[in-house]
Amino acid sequence: MSSQLATTAKRAGRRFLSSLPALFGVLVFTFLLMRVLPGDPAVFFASGPTAGKEEIELIRKSMGLDKPVPEQLVRYLGDVGTGNLGRSLTTGQPVLSDLRNRLPASLELTFSALLIALFTAIPLGVAAALRQGSAVDHLVRFICALGVCVPTFVSGLLLIYAFYYLLGWAPDPTGRVDIFTSPPPLVTGFLLIDFAVAGDWEGWRAAARQLVLPAFTMALFVVAPLARITRAAMLASLGSDFVRTAKSLGLPRRKIIVTYALRNAILPVLTIAGIVFSTMLGANVLVEKVFSWPGVASYALDALLSSDYAPVQGFVLLMASIFVIVNLTVDVLYGIADPRVSVE
């Protein structure tokens, strides 16, 4: 068991090292892509009523844009090495602190959405697999297909219109917590956790209420791939020889489905869930926009449209790092869940 953990850790370490070049590639590629953008951030932000050449030059200089691109790149890489991601023109803050403040919001939303999606998708997928070809199966497939075919910004807007505007069930879609609720002392940045730590259940409910609609909007979109893979994996393991063995030995149905079939089927689901998580985190731009969610994605979107380089670069780097970390986590979890992996 301990050797298994050791090999898993070793594997994780190897994976991490091998992902460093990818991170570096992302860094350089983003940098260059941003320089290709035809917009000049200096001009855009020199929006003062008398903005002239001088003001534009000032901003260019403060951003280091007056230097040749290769030099900018070297400086940027040096800065990143020392943990300086630059300063956002849109918010006026250092990108690092902006990202640090906003990342918990994105993570909390994405985690909640993923949880909702998993708790929906796995039972659906299992139900479909258990009754393959039946009406249940077709229904699940249809529901899933329905979920992925509505653009998130449409479903988000419709949910707001229905639950906030018409029904009044949901709180105003204005961020993470009701503006009149005092925020909890900062511990993790995850409001649900911080409120719980502080024992402020009133606040916890307020934060949870804000979370429900955006999380559902996002979950709706990822239920399909998760349910689909659950169904496929479940079908594979239900049709496998070891489930037949379990049946032939007279194991209780519940045990066969949960301990034998599902536990094996969960492995590919885990992999997909990792991928889904990373994609969601990067792709929830539109959800964050629609729900005024103060997350990193909407931050990057605003910056991108105004050619504000530093935040976009910082964001992409952050996302790529999270991608690597999530992959590592999945790897480790996989290594723990599946003893076969460690011998490879």
Partner: protein
């Protein structure tokens, strides 16, 4: 031991006119049509038959473990008088494992890959009695001891992938006997295992059933296995039991035509190629192998009868010379270790060994599909080992060395029809253009391989296993190679089909004077097919020599071990001997 349940006494299991149907897109297909069998307590019943005969379906119907598409259409299955076909799922659950349990082919797949051995065995015990975790572990240990696993304490926390196939099957047996069932159904329990492992596993099964007074149904395609371990054998064909008897009389004097053919087709230590599918049995036969022979090349029957020596004269020059061949894979695994042998023109050389002996790697090295790490290969005196496998397709010798693969399904491009498969080397290596000449040549090759011309338009998935094997052979001989490498060409085929294919290969060799490199794990087949034999173990040569001499008086202990494990059709009472001897 009483072979037949005496009338009046309730048998342990009674199958009465069982019909099983499967719903497919062609409508309902009846896989088992009216099978009646009885098993007495403590008795071992063998069910033999080729693929599609319904033997496994019968077993699964008995235990009600059929796929969702399968259904028991009619008939009764009584276990100790209780009708299983109408049992509720609750009753079934108490029956499974506790009264009837099963073991399967592919033991590793039959075990849950992510659960430890101890837990799985404990699950099996816990399915029928309430036990604590520690009790479960203790019971698992006892059972592991009962199935004679070495270091049982260590194996408790092992996962299936850490164990060999033989060990997995022992664990499967441990689970199957965990709740002391009265009947054990073993469905091809040793298929896919090496011969030596097969023997130990079967001996264990025989011993355990005898010790515990359990009845067993042994389902197998291997007549030798049934002969050795069963009290009584039922032969199935097309979903019906065609003959049922005590093994000695069944195999010595088969009465039904199908049984006769089956017995004849099973290679034994003394059988000859011509005996495998004697023409006397072809009349009125309806099975696939014989039907396929429809486009019988005129030479086939003739040459099959003609069993004269085709051994090349002593002075015949060497065609292939393999010198100190080594193949190392990344990670330091040595698949082939210093192997040298030679084949004369027109000679047939057998390469035998168990899985992992490196025989398939050698066949690919010789075919120049992969590069050797060290050593040289001379073909017709020319060194061909140095030319990179990547470029060998340009070599003029490419057409002289051809190969027939193990799995006929796997060896045909699913997107080519039979014609294109056979025409492919002609187009490529002989640069033949589409036209009358090409199609004439393809037809000729097909005919020589015994493939009816009307099948040439079909795609692989529309052909039977034997037909696909023929396409593979036709493709390999299309360019008239001088050396044909046969990599377990019949391993995936039923015995009756194997018989016909072996005859075909033998006659082709005689007619064309091709040299053969025949790779196989089946010693009887190699003995029949090859002039000389090389025995491999762990990538190295253990012994090589004239086939007849080698099999008659093996020098190496390993060869002897292999030969001992070969099963023979004649051998009643073996089972008692095994039990008594242990």
């Amino acid at each position: 031991m009483n072979a037949f349940a005496s009338p009046g006494e309730t048998p342990l299991l009674a199958i009465d006119d069982l019909h099983v149907t499967f719903s497919t897109r062609r409508g309902l297909v009846e896989a088992v049509c009216g099978v009646s069998l009885q098993v007495a307590a403590g008795e071992t019943l063998g069910i033999v038959g080729e693929s599609g005969s319904g033997k496994s379906v019968t077993a699964f119907a008995v235990t009600r473990l059929l796929d969702a598409s399968g259904r028991i259409a009619a008939g009764k299955v009584r276990f100790k008088g209780q009708d299983i076909t109408s049992a509720s799922s609750k009753q079934l659950r108490s029956l499974h494992g506790a009264a009837i349990s099963m073991i399967f082919q592919n033991p590793r797949g039959a075990l849950n890959p992510i659960r430890t051995v101890a837990l799985q065995i404990a699950d099996a015990v816990g399915a029928h009695e309430r036990i604590s975790a520690s009790e479960g572990r203790a019971r698992a240990l006892d059972l592991l001891k009962a199935v004679l696993i070495r270091d049982p304490e260590k194996r408790l926390d092992a996962y299936p992938h850490e164990l060999s196939g033989g060990m997995c099957q022992r664990i499967m047996i441990a689970m199957a006997i965990a709740s002391r069932p009265a009947l054990l159904i073993a469905d091809e329990p040793t298929t896919g295992l090496d011969v030596t492992t097969q023997k130990t596993v079967m001996d264990l099964l025989a011993r355990i059933t005898a010790e515990r007074g359990m009845a067993m149904i042994l389902i197998t395609h291997d007549l030798g296995l049934a002969a050795r371990y069963c009290d009584r054998v039922a032969v199935m064909q097309h979903g019906k039991v065609v003959e049922e008897a005590e093994p000695r009389s069944l195999f010595r004097a088969p009465r039904h035509d199908y049984t006769k053919r089956l017995v004849a087709a099973s290679p034994t230590a003394t059988s000859k190629i011509a005996d495998l599918a004697p023409s006397s049995l072809r009349e009125g036969a309806s099975d696939e192998a014989i039907q396929e022979g429809g486009a019988n090349p005129s030479g086939l029957l003739r040459s099959a009868r003609n069993d004269g020596e085709v051994k090349p004269a002593p002075g015949t020059p060497l065609l292939l010379e393999v010198q100190s061949l080594v193949k190392r894979y990344d990670g330091g695994v040595v698949a082939v270790n210093d192997v040298s042998f030679a084949i004369r023109q027109g000679e047939s050389l057998g390469l035998v060994g168990e899985s992992g002996s490196g025989k398939s790697t050698i066949s690919r090295l010789v075919c120049r599909l992969i590069d050797a790490s060290e050593g040289e290969i001379l073909f017709d005196g020319q060194p061909i080992g140095q030319q990179a496998a990547r470029d060998f397709h340009k070599s003029p010798l490419r057409k002289d060395i051809q190969i027939v693969f193990q799995d006929p399904t796997d060896s045909l491009n699913p997107r080519f029809n039979a014609f294109d498969c056979i025409a492919h080397p002609l187009r490529r290596l002989l640069a033949m253009k589409d036209g009358a000449a090409l199609s004439e040549r393809v037809r000729e090759c097909a005919a020589r391989a015994g493939l009816p011309a009307e099948l040439l338009e079909r795609f692989p998935h529309q052909l039977s296993g034997g037909q696909k094997a023929r396409v593979g052979i036709a493709r390999a001989i299309a360019c008239r190679p001088r050396l044909l490498v046969l990599d377990e060409p019949t391993a995936a085929l039923d015995v009756s089909v194997q018989a016909v294919i072996l005859q075909l290969l033998d006659s082709l060799r005689r007619e064309d004077g091709m040299a053969l490199l025949f790779v196989s794990h089946d010693l009887n087949v190699v003995r029949m097919m090859c002039d000389r034999t090389v025995v491999l173990q762990n990538g190295a040569i253990v012994e090589q020599g004239e086939s007849l001499a080698l099999f008659r008086a093996p020098q190496a202990p390993y060869t002897r071990q292999l030969l001992d494990a070969v099963l023979h059709l004649d051998g009643p009472g073996q089972r008692d001997a095994v039990v008594a001897g242990s």
